[in-house]
C-alpha cells in the first residue's frame, strides 16, 4: 500500500483512512506493507498494529515546488520497493503516490488498485494552469492503469467516472469507516474559557480551505447574533488569515475561536461540549468528520453535497442545507439549536446510522476487490516471468 499520509503525518482524511483500513486488513490475515513519507521525525521502519511501515524521507534532494517534492518522494519509493519482500498487489491512495504505483506495476508486473479520495477538478472547480492540469492528468493516469478504482461514495464514483472516463465496470464504492472511542479520553480543558454558562457551542472540524466552506459558517454565524452561540473552529489551512479578518468584518470575532490543529483527546472534549457540528463543504468526497460527530452524539448540520449528502438523511439523522447558502445554513442551525426535541431525535438516529460504517466491513469489501483483481490477474498472460 502506498500513501503519502500515514500517522503521525496526517493532513486530511486520507491518513486516517489508510491507518484504519490497513489495520483492519491485517486483522483479516492480509500482510500489509505501507510505503509512506517521513520528514525524519518518525522511524524509517516499524510495525504498527501488525502493519509493516516503511517511511521515505525525500529531503536529500531540493525541489522547486510541491509537485517536484511529490515526484521526489515517489522516486525514492520506487527505489525502496526493490528491498521489499515480494507482494501480490499494489494499492495506491490518490495522485500523490500514483507515480510510484504505476512504475512498480510495470516493473513488478503486479496488478494495481487505486483509491481516489478526491480529485483536482473537484477541489478546484476548473483546471487553470499546468500545475492543476498535471495533477488532473496524473489522476487520470492512475485510474487508467488501475485494475480496480475504489471510491468512498457514489458521488465520487460519478465524478471519477465522468471526469476521467473511467469505466464503471472496474470501479467500486467502499465507504470510510467509523471507530467509536478512537479519539481516547477527553482532555481536561476548561469550558468556561470558551463559553459562559448559558452559551452554546457550535463546532467546525476541517481544513481551512475554500472547498470546505468555513466562510459559509461565519456568514451564518453573523445572522445568528441573537442566539448565545460561540464557534469552535478546529483545523488549519491557507484560508485562516482571511477567515480571521472576515469574522472581524462580520462583527463576530468575539464569538469565534480559531483553534488550529488539536489532539484527538482535545477534539473529544470539544465534541462533548458542543450543541451542534457544522460541515459546510462545497466539495466533500465523503466527510469522515461528520461520522465522528454523529458517533460522538451531537447533531450535525451538513451541506447537501458529495458524501455528506449520502450519509445524512435530512430531518432523520441530521439536517442538510443548500451548499454555499449561508441563509439555508442559518435556518437549519437555528432549528437544531433552539429545538431540543429535534436535536435529541437527530442524535438518537445518528448513533444508529453510524453503526453501519465500520472499518471491518470496509476492509472486507476491500479484500473482496483484491480477490477479484487477483483472480483476473491469474487468468491473464501479463506476468513477471523473465
Amino acid at each position: 500500500m502506498i500513501s503519502w499520509e500515514y500517522p503521525p503525518y496526517i493532513v486530511g482524511g486520507l491518513g486516517r483512512h489508510v491507518f484504519h483500513i490497513s489495520k483492519s486488513l491485517v486483522q483479516k490475515d492480509i500482510d500489509v506493507t505501507i510505503l509512506t513519507f517521513t520528514d525524519g521525525s518518525s522511524p524509517s521502519q516499524e510495525e504498527v498494529n501488525g502493519v509493516h511501515v516503511v517511511r521515505i524521507n525525500p529531503y536529500s534532494l531540493r525541489y522547486p515546488d510541491f509537485i517536484s517534492w511529490s515526484h521526489g518522494l515517489n522516486m525514492l519509493m520506487v527505489e525502496a520497493a526493490s528491498a521489499i519482500d515480494d507482494f501480490d498487489l499494489i494499492h495506491v491512495h490518490d495522485w500523490l503516490t500514483a507515480y510510484a504505483g504505476i512504475a512498480l506495476k510495470h516493473i513488478k508486473r503486479k496488478p494495481l488498485v487505486a483509491t481516489i479520495h478526491s480529485t483536482e477538478l473537484g477541489r478546484r472547480g476548473s483546471l487553470r494552469n499546468d500545475y492543476e492540469r498535471h495533477i488532473h492528468e496524473l489522476e487520470w493516469w492512475l485510474t487508467y492503469e488501475a485494475w480496480n478504482v475504489i471510491c468512498c461514495s457514489n458521488y465520487m464514483l460519478r465524478e471519477v467516472s465522468g471526469n476521467m472516463s473511467c469505466p464503471r465496470e472496474k470501479m467500486s464504492v467502499i465507504t470510510n469507516g467509523y471507530e467509536g472511542g478512537s479519539m481516547g479520553p477527553p482532555a481536561p480543558l476548561v469550558r468556561k474559557n470558551y463559553a459562559q454558562n448559558g452559551e452554546k457551542l457550535v463546532l467546525y472540524v476541517g481544513r481551512l480551505v475554500y472547498e470546505k466552506g468555513p466562510h459559509i459558517l461565519l456568514e451564518a454565524a453573523s445572522k445568528l447574533k441573537h442566539l448565545d452561540l460561540k464557534y469552535l473552529i478546529v483545523g488549519d489551512g491557507s484560508m485562516r488569515p482571511y477567515l480571521v479578518d472576515l469574522s472581524k468584518r462580520l462583527g463576530i470575532s468575539e464569538r469565534v475561536y480559531f483553534l488550529g490543529h488539536v489532539t484527538d483527546s482535545e477534539l473529544a472534549t470539544f465534541y462533548n461540549w458542543s450543541s451542534a457540528a457544522v460541515f459546510p463543504s462545497l466539495y466533500e468526497p465523503f466527510g469522515i468528520v461528520a461520522l465522528e460527530a454523529m458517533g460522538a452524539g451531537i447533531p450535525v448540520v451538513v451541506s447537501a453535497t458529495g458524501g455528506l449528502d449520502e450519509i445524512v438523511q435530512d430531518g432523520y439523522n441530521g439536517l442538510k442545507f443548500m451548499p454555499g447558502s449561508s441563509d439555508s445554513l442559518t435556518y437549519q442551525l437555528n432549528r437544531v439549536i433552539t429545538d431540543k426535541a429535534l436535536s435529541d431525535w437527530l442524535v438518537g438516529n445518528a448513533r444508529q446510522s453510524v453503526e453501519k460504517y465500520s472499518w471491518d466491513s470496509a476492509a472486507s469489501e476491500t479484500e473482496a476487490v483484491y480477490h477479484k483483481v487477483l483472480d483476473q490477474y491469474e487468468k491473464s498472460s501479463w506476468k513477471p516471468a523473465v
Binding site: R62, P64, D65, S68, H71, V78, E79, A81, I107, H134
Partner: protein, 193 residues
Amino acid sequence: MKPVLHITWEYPPYVVGSLSMELRNTLVPLAQQVPVNLVVRADSDETAEIDGMKIFKVSQSIKSSPHVLAYAHVLNIDLVRGASRAIYESGGASLVHCHDWISSLAGVYISSNFCLPLVISVYSTELARSRSLSTLLSMGIFDLEKHCLRRADVVVADMSLAESLSKDYGVDPGRIFPRGGDLLKVYNRWAMR
C-alpha cells in the same frame, strides 16, 4: 549475451537536439556486435525492429507539466513501462545504458529492481548548462543528476566534464569512461551473463 537495454528520450525520427543523431551513429554499429534493445519515447506503445535493434516505443501519458523537472519524472514512468516490457519480452537484459539526465531515472529504477549494472551517458550537465545553480528548478535538476550518477556503475562522458563530474557530482574518476571510446569494453566488463 542478453540484450543491452538502452533508454533514451530521443531517437530518430524524434529529434530534439544533437543526441538523437549521435545516438543512432553509436547504436547502429554497436547492434552489429551485441544485441541491443532500445526504449524510446514515441507516439504510441509498440515494438519495431529498426537498424538491427529491437525498439520498444512508449507513448507519452501526460501532456501537461509545469516545468522540465516534472516532465522528466513522468517521462521516466513511461520509459520504465517500455523498459520493463523489453525485459519481460526479451527474457531479460545484461545491462542498462541510459542517455542524458532526462532519461536516467528509468535506468536507476530498472537497475535497482532487476539488479542490473547501470551505465549513464552524460552529454552535458545542469552546471554546464546553467553555469550556476541560481534557481530552485536548476538546483532540483542538479540534485536529480547527482542522485542518478551516484547510482551508476559507469559514467560515459566527454573528458572535459570529468573534473566537474568528480568534484561537483561525486562521481569516482575511476568510473568515468571516455565518450567516443569502445563501449564493448564497458559491456564486456559489466554485462550480466
